[in-house]
Point group: C2
Chain length 209, copies 2
């Protein structure tokens, strides 16, 4: 599981190619490492600077969102893009886990179709969509955090935004440029991950409990 080995492997396989090709493939290999590090490196950001996220960047997020995959390509989603600080603060105050929205210059509420017999698919697709938007934001150096409306907060959010009651509204993404100073001032939240040995099984599940 040593990632260093991957680079090693790629380098060795290039030893016999000419310089020009080698240089080009090295660049491809760099792109691969760079992208893997990018995917591996996404972390939640809860503290935002007040600077607005430029319209062109928002358009990029929406375009990536639009092309997200979904079960049977059903695209069971709509997005409400919110810049208004008052609306963001009101949404942050409803029941749930979206307080970070109060300090964000941008929020995106995911409005799922809400077909009762497809709730599993919609929830799964909602996770896929969220991940894409957060990754697209990170490309632009924009931080993000998932907020989650719970209990009465779901209907409250729908009422605030004029969303029909039939829709499923749970996720709101807070977005903005990271406020590194505020983050450093917070008590350190470690977000360690389980080692691969604890979560990966080869060919067959081995009970590790």
């Amino acid at each position: 599981m040593d990632l260093g080995d991957v680079d090693g492997e790629v380098d060795v396989s290039l030893d016999y190619t000419g310089l020009q090709r080698s240089e080009q493939v090295m660049t491809e290999s760099d792109t691969v490492r760079d992208r893997i590090a990018f995917l591996r490196g996404l972390r939640s950001v809860r503290d935002f600077r007040p600077d607005p996220v430029p319209r062109e960047i928002v358009d990029d997020l929406l375009e990536v969102a639009r092309w997200s995959g979904s079960a049977n390509n059903s695209q069971p989603w709509e997005l409400v893009v919110i810049l208004d600080r008052e609306t963001l603060r009101s949404l942050a105050a409803v029941e749930g886990y979206a307080k970070h929205l109060a300090g964000a210059p941008l929020g995106i509420v995911l409005v799922m179709a809400g077909e009762p017999e497809r709730v599993g698919h919609e929830t799964y697709d909602e996770g896929r969509l969220s991940e894409r938007i957060m990754l697209a934001a990170a490309v632009h150096g924009v931080g993000s955090c998932i907020g989650w409306f719970a209990g009465d907060g779901r209907q409250a959010a729908k009422t605030l935004l004029g969303i029909p009651a039939s829709r499923l509204v749970r996720t709101v993404l807070s977005l903005g440029y990271p406020d590194d100073e505020a983050r450093r001032a917070r008590p350190k939240r470690e977000q360690p991950r389980k080692p691969l040995a604890e979560i990966v099984h080869q060919e067959r599940y081995r009970d590790t409990e």
Copy 2:
């Protein structure tokens, strides 16, 4: 929503910087465009060449998977990595939508914790995890497709792999190098997406029905 505008914007803002810095930032801008195109471009692949996916690449996928975000950092997942063709064919045959697994050289079954009161969070996190793994695969030119066990297929998959009945098993990812020839031979499946105007609302939901 014209993506071309983004590059234009970035270029203009660099007009006043020196050549060296400009060159460097141009490269950053290229990286941004490249990454956005990468995120936007992920598509399902159902036809695979028989070539195995190298171990180093599988390690990369698992490492990206391991660092996926989850609600409260609960990491409610384990992964079963399957190369055995017989097992893959057996899984492809259970009830559900995973027939493409029969032709894949690699399958990854997502085993979710299965806590009854957290099924919503687990399903959402399962979607996030799937998206990360598929993107990490795409970085390496490895195609992927989501398979979904349904009905009795879920227990059948658990029995085949020795997974405790308490776990939630729905998703299997088929992975492998794309067989472009087979894909061209298939009837063309268009996977268009709704226009942004249909799915995006500004500040407040406007009923477009």
